[in-house]
């Protein structure tokens, strides 16, 4: 009887332990936060990871806007509670340094977690520079936003297009071309839509070509310096001559879809968005290199990017699984191509530029142009631009200066200097 009782207790204990262990294993669910087209990319990646690598991998991709993630980050940081953040989080190039600077404990150092220097050198170098904060690699890049010109062919003379593709063009040419196109096609047509009430990609691109933006790598404020004045002077000149279409919502895609924009300056990902919203325009667009400054030979600019970071405050099991997934996703050229196909995100992994899709892929939407090859040619050498830890404030200060310059005819240098002073005061 006693033996039977002992056996029963043993069986119960064994069953309970097995259940607990299996429950624990099944309960490891990785949470991933992403926005827009990145959600579909992540969902696709999770499915493939489960199929190809780890069948037990369990992850939930949650869709938040970039602003929501930013708000959650700031709230979690205030409470110093990393559990309020997901295990793997998408971060924009313009925010990642500020986040890591404000709350370094949240970020896994990928260099310390086994991402070798050789592996790091496999990415477009500006992305690694941006993600390296205090000698720690706080995130891995997987997408970049090389900035290009989307030319709407029905508004162009093909001779001009070919000339630009062959010889490049300057910002002065861009303005002249805008005047020419408007004189032919009427005043409803503009060269590019410009968000006068926001941090528009055009100004950012103009300064990024010279390796600057609101601050530099050492967080020294760049607003109001010579490059900033040069760029804003050109923006104002384009604005005064009505080359820019005034938008205040950032909804330039509607104008592009209406055929009212001749040469939109924007990130490569807009091409994917246009395929979604205006499939009927297939063949009507081509991608042109950016205009360059007359004092420069090259015109490359990268004005954004997608990075993944892993929550260092998560449990070891979760962190390890997250790290394995993120490394697999970002270091594999097949995944980069898949992300490009699923979400139109241009890869940061250089190896993907050697794939057949890049070397020989013609895109019917862009008039059978070898788009990926063309863009990769002016992506590798693009300089890094650095956001700051006070990005939100800096945006607001800059936008206020921009509004004063464009709408209140304020003295350009003075307005930019006021913005610089506000940024400096806030930072101190």
């Amino acid at each position: 009887m006693k033996a039977a009782r002992s056996f029963f207790v043993f069986v119960m204990l064994a069953m309970t332990s097995t259940m607990l262990i299996s429950c624990e294993q099944e309960d490891v669910v990785i949470t991933i936060w992403a926005w827009n087209r990145n959600v579909a990319i992540m969902e696709d990646a999770v499915e493939r990871y489960r199929t190809d690598v780890d069948a037990s991998f369990n992850a939930v991709v949650e869709s938040f806007s970039q602003g929501d993630i930013d708000t959650r980050f700031k709230s979690a940081k205030e409470l110093n509670d990393g559990s309020m953040m997901a295990d793997v989080v998408l971060a924009d190039a313009n925010w990642i340094r500020g986040y890591a600077d404000a709350w370094p404990e949240l970020f896994v150092d990928f260099a310390e977690e086994g991402l070798s220097e050789e592996e790091q050198s496999g990415f477009v170098q500006s992305t690694i520079q941006i993600a390296t904060v205090d000698d720690r690699l706080v995130a891995i890049p997987y997408g970049i936003a090389p900035t290009v010109v989307f030319a709407y062919l029905p508004l162009w003379d093909m001779e001009d297009i070919n000339d630009i593709l062959e010889n490049g063009w300057t910002w002065d040419d861009y303005k002249t071309m805008g005047e020419q196109i408007r004189s032919v096609h009427g005043t409803d047509v503009h060269m590019t839509a410009y968000n006068m009430r926001g941090d528009d990609r055009l100004y950012r691109t103009m300064t990024a070509q010279k390796g600057e933006w609101l601050v530099d790598a050492d967080l020294a404020v760049q607003v109001g310096n010579a490059i900033s004045i040069q760029a804003m002077t050109h923006v104002r000149s384009l604005f005064e001559d009505d080359i820019l279409s005034h938008i205040d919502t950032g909804d330039f895609r509607s104008l592009m879809k209406n055929g009212q924009i001749a040469a939109q300056v924007h990130g490569f990902f807009v091409g994917g968005q246009m395929k979604d919203v205006a499939p009927e325009m297939s063949g009507d667009w081509m991608i042109l290199p950016l205009p360059r400054w007359s004092d420069m030979d090259r015109s490359d600019a990268i004005t954004g990017g997608s990075y993944l970071y892993v929550n260092d405050t998560a449990s070891t099991t979760v962190k390890d699984k997250s790290l394995d997934f993120v490394k697999w996703f970002t270091l594999n050229p097949e995944n980069a191509i898949q992300a490009l196909e699923v979400g139109g995100i241009y890869p940061a992994l250089l190896e993907s530029y050697e794939t057949d899709a890049f070397m020989n892929g013609q895109d019917p939407y862009f008039n059978d142009q070898y788009v990926l090859k063309v863009v990769s040619d002016f992506t590798k050498q693009a300089p890094a631009i650095y956001p700051s830890k006070n990005n939100a404030f800096n945006y607001d200060a800059f936008v206020t200066a921009q509004e004063k310059i464009l709408f209140q005819a304020a003295d350009l240098t003075q307005a930019l200097n006021e913005a610089r002073d506000a940024i400096l005061t806030n930072a101190s």
């Binding site: 708000t71 110093n80 509670d81 938008i247 939100a392 607001d396 206020t400 509004e403 709408f407």
Partner: protein, 286 residues
Amino acid sequence: MRHKKFFPYVLIAPFVIFFAVFRLYPIVLTFLRSVTESNSGVLVYRGFSNYANLIQDRLLLQVLVNTAVVFMLYVAIKMPLLMVISIVIREMKKNKALYIRTLYLPTLVGGFAYGIIYRYLFTYNGIVNHVLNFTLGIRVDWLGEAFFARYVIVFALLWGSLGIHVLMLVNALNNVSSEQLEYGALEGATFIDRMRYIFIPHAKPLLKVIVFISLIETIGMIDVPLNLTNGGPYQSTMTLGLYVYKQAFQYGDFAYAGTIGILVLFLSIAFLVLFGRKEALYENYY
């Protein structure tokens, strides 16, 4: 006997607990946060430097002016409109409920949602400008000019809040005696006369409450200006609530946001005291 002695405390306990947890505790916490800094989640006392920063904050002065301007516009448009609509609905023979419900519907839509709706209506390439351009050949930079942007915010606020106040006012005006109105009609009172001598005096206490609610609404509003203008142009629509929100959730400075929060608290108390005193004078006078 003893049981009876404690019974009133039991009755007020839910309110006291609710007030202490959801009102008093956040206020105390906000004050503590305003005099501390977060060091890896641990709050360390750092004195009243944030309060000194309030005095040096040039934008804060503009924010206070913006809030006052929006409030005055809001009340100046809302109160006459509210009176006219409420009287018209009161005078209706049928379908009163239908009109009240229609006006009330926007109240059910959150400020965040109608902020976005108004943005797409009034953006430079929005529906309103398309109509204006089609009919008159003009476009107005509704959200780009401080003058217009403030009006758009006021109209968005009106759209969202008018219904509930019409509902309150119609109920109050329903209590006006028909004899009084009939007497007025015999004396040849016009619509204006009836409004001036009968309806407004009757609804005056409620109108004051509505003005005060509108003040609280204007001070605290975040979602409407955030989605419509993000405080622009030239920070002319940066109101107190939005400024606090930006400091905390966009700039990540919870301590300074808390400091402004305490300022808002004292301003509200000052208005309440002022409002209460006028109310008392009004009561004594009559």
